[in-house]
């Protein structure tokens, strides 16, 4: 069954990836400090689009997975994964997931000769244009092609899509829609749609309702290719999300260790009490596991081997670990962990909404059971 020869994966970080990581981390340390994030979340501009510009254009993060001839950097999912790890560690409010991962990989699945691709992909890759993929954030890889948006006789689109990630700051909507010719992927200017931001559980990554009423649209792929392109976008996002979850886990562990070393009760640092040390040791063990599955998923996506299993394993493992790690961080911080002023809640909100994104762990386990032949 699953014993077919697989290439030996590279589970480490390359020097180039480590360099990219330190550039991203430096930027986020300067520009996305916890206090600044907290101040921002309740303003009219919850997203930091200046930071996004720097990250996307100056550091080139938006075009990592795009080939050089289409205006990108010709890197792979491995590098994008490193960026997401750092974004998880900082919960920076930027639309990397919606734009650089979801919208971009959906376009990458089309024929690169299509004029829409030639026009839009370089702009997305260069960070000039921000995109979003009009599917609910909870859509899992392997789901049926959505039928919520319909292609009208005149080629415009009508329909409604709920909980679209990063849509409130996107200029371009990539919309899966079904018409008389079957499924297709369409480029729609966000200005011609009604995008209503919801009150999201995750304060640093928002979801929005998208309503299309006879919205002008350009189809860039259709039929089986459209279905495959959408599924590839969801699979890539699910696999890369494990790296963000690893970053969240790493933050939770590191922050809690630092806090417990400095917090004195009963005349000594509470981090010296065995009951707490063991919980942190368990979190470290979880982190080792999450990171291994996330690296494998990134390498599998980059190399195009074993992708469905690698992604299902990564989501089944890394997602609940991230939630648990942040829950532990809150408990071990005591009262301060429960306050609005401590950033832990931003991480909990991200971790919990990530757990639902692109399929819950239970859904990924069910999918995995089919893939590795563990029938009901």
């Amino acid at each position: 069954m699953t014993s077919t020869e697989l290439p030996t994966p590279d589970l480490l970080y390359s020097e180039v990836e480590e360099d990219l990581r330190s550039s991203v981390r430096d930027l986020l340390t300067d520009r996305a400090a916890p206090a600044a994030l907290l101040a921002r979340v309740e303003t009219a501009e919850p997203y930091d689009l200046k930071l996004w510009k720097t990250l996307a254009a100056d550091l080139g993060a938006a075009g990592l997975m795009v080939p050089e001839e289409l205006g990108g950097h010709g890197a792979t999912a491995r590098e994008a994964a490193v960026v997401l790890e750092e974004l998880g560690r900082s919960v920076a409010p930027v639309p990397f997931l919606g734009s650089a991962v979801l919208a971009t990989t959906a376009l990458l699945g089309a024929d690169s000769a299509d004029p829409v691709i030639g026009e839009l992909l370089p702009r997305l890759a260069g960070g000039e244009l921000t995109g979003a993929l009009a599917v609910p954030l909870t859509t899992a890889p392997g789901a049926e092609f959505p039928a919520t948006v319909t292609v009208n006789a005149d080629g415009t689109l009508s329909g409604r899509v709920g909980t679209v990630v990063d849509a409130s700051v996107a200029e371009l909507l990539v919309v899966p829609a079904t018409g008389p010719d079957g499924p297709g992927l369409y480029a729609v200017e966000a200005a011609s749609a009604t995008v209503t931001e919801l009150v999201s559980l995750d304060l640093t990554r928002r979801v929005a309702d998208v309503v299309l009423e006879n919205a002008p649209a350009r189809r860039f792929t259709s039929g089986g290719q459209a279905v495959a392109a959408l599924d590839n976008a969801l699979t890539t996002a699910a696999g890369l999300l494990a790296s963000e979850q690893t970053g969240l886990t790493d933050w939770a562990l590191t922050t809690t260790v630092t806090y417990l070393k400095g917090r004195y009760q009963f005349g000594r640092p509470v981090g010296g009490f065995q009951s707490l040390k063991h919980r942190l040791a368990n979190l470290y063990t979880d982190l080792v596991n999450a990171r291994a599955t996330a690296r494998y998923a990134a390498d599998a996506l980059a190399g195009g081997f074993d992708v469905p299993i690698a992604v299902a394993v990564a989501q089944a493992r890394a997602a609940p670990i991230a939630v648990h790690a942040v829950e532990e961080a809150i408990q071990l911080h005591g009262g301060i962990g429960m306050t609005w002023e401590h950033p832990a809640h931003l991480y909990l909100k991200r971790a919990k909404s990530d757990e639902l994104a692109f399929g819950t762990p239970g859904r990924h386990r069910a999918r995995l059971a089919d893939l590795v032949d563990l029938p009901a």
Binding site: K261, R268, G272, K277, L280, D373
Partner: protein, 392 residues
């Protein structure tokens, strides 16, 4: 000049062409003398100072040629713990005398460390060694000694000075298991068999030439042994479903009548955990090969122990009525731990030892917390107290 994988491939080929394999022991001795036993050891001691990462390639090349091996499973303690300790602290004479028969398996080793009163707190040990001219007279009791019943030699830690704090008064020796006064008694365990033993040492005479390291430096030497014990546990690359999960998954596929939704949830959960740990193991080995060993080893041992225990428990439940049976309670002295060829009941019971042997999960969690995460240690009430004054 560094030896490369290429060089070693050539050496193995030439060696195989020049040596016939009819006499297993002659072949193994020659392999040792050619520096192809453990390539990272120094010249003349079975190696050639090559990078440690090249060893698996050499072993694989010999295995692929069908050459006899040194049955490493039979001498795990000798190869994994005694050899690196002798290499690090032994005299030139000790290295010459012990390393070759250890590697070939002519001499099997065991480890006389734990005592009834000193398990996780190994430095509390009470086995006394008293100087008598050129010899030491050793008296005490050791326990959980795996393989003592077929070992010729042991690594031994003793108390040589009870008047100083516990870590300072220990001395490390090699002990001849056939010497007068050494008595090995089997300890029957929950599986019904006896892998390990208690060892009684009654006025055993050990010449000073078998001391490893300086008098009073036994703890430092023992640390090297224990560090290597945890490296040895890391193991080798396994394919997907290569561990215990493969056995349970096979039963699941072959026996549809046993399936329930609840068991399936747990099985898939464990499948995911097994795959994650397999990947974490590959990652750890890649770090070692890249010359940047990470501290993940202790974490993986904790996780493996828990997973093995849950998975073997699930296997019994899955089997239903058959899970009520057991393959064989006959008392026997086992040579090696064999998880795969025995029945599920054995696996379930034997896995209980995984979180105790080679450092309990509790001790490993302390190690992760203190040495990896840098958290403070518990206050030590025994640190500056003479060993003889400690409560026990």
């Amino acid at each position: 000049m560094t030896v490369t994988a290429e060089d070693l491939r050539g050496q193995v080929e030439r060696f195989l062409a020049a040596h016939d394999t009819t006499d297993r022991m002659e072949f193994l001795r020659a392999r040792f003398d050619a520096g192809l036993a453990w390539v990272h050891f120094p010249e003349g001691l079975g190696g050639q100072g090559a990078p440690r990462a090249l060893q698996p390639g050499v072993d694989a090349a010999f295995a692929a040629a069908g050459a006899p091996d040194n049955d490493p499973r039979r001498n795990v303690i000798g190869l994994g713990m005694a050899a690196p300790t002798i290499l690090a602290f032994g005299t030139p004479e000790q290295k010459q005398r012990y390393l070759r028969p250890l590697w070939t398996g002519e001499e099997v080793w065991c480890q006389l460390f734990s005592e009834p009163g000193a398990g996780s707190d190994l430095a509390a040990l009470a086995t006394r060694a008293v100087r008598d001219g050129d010899d030491w007279i050793v008296t005490g009791q050791k326990v959980w000694t795996s393989g003592a019943h077929h070992a010729q030699w042991a690594i031994l830690v003793t108390r040589t000075d009870p008047d100083v704090p516990k870590h300072q008064g220990m001395t490390y020796f090699l002990c001849d298991m056939t010497a007068p006064g050494v008595e090995v008694r089997p300890l029957r365990q929950i599986t019904g068999e006896a892998e390990f033993n208690e060892v009684f040492l009654t006025e055993v005479r050990i010449p000073d030439s078998l001391r490893i390291g300086a008098v009073g430096e036994g703890w430092k030497v023992a640390q090297t042994t224990l560090m290597n014990e945890r490296v040895a546990i890391g193991g080798s690359a396994v394919p997907r479903e290569g561990g215990l999960i493969g056995l349970v998954a096979k039963t699941w596929r072959e026996r549809p009548e046993l399936r329930t939704p609840e068991l399936r949830d747990r099985l898939v959960q464990h499948w995911v955990e097994s795959e994650a740990l397999r990947l974490a193991g590959s990652r750890l080995r890649q770090q070692l090969t890249a010359g940047a060993p990470g501290p993940e080893g202790s974490a993986m041992k904790v996780a493996f122990s828990e997973l093995n225990q849950q998975l073997t428990g699930l296997e019994i439940e899955l089997l239903g009525e058959e899970g009520l049976g057991y393959d064989d309670w006959t008392f026997r002295r086992s040579e090696v731990v064999d998880f795969t060829s025995r029945e599920p009941g054995y696996r379930y019971l034997r896995a209980k030892g995984n979180s105790i042997e080679g450092g309990t999960s509790e001790v490993l969690r302390n190690i992760i917390a203190e040495r990896v995460l840098g958290l403070p240690s518990e206050p030590r009430v025994d640190k500056d107290v003479a060993w003889k004054d400690l409560p026990r």
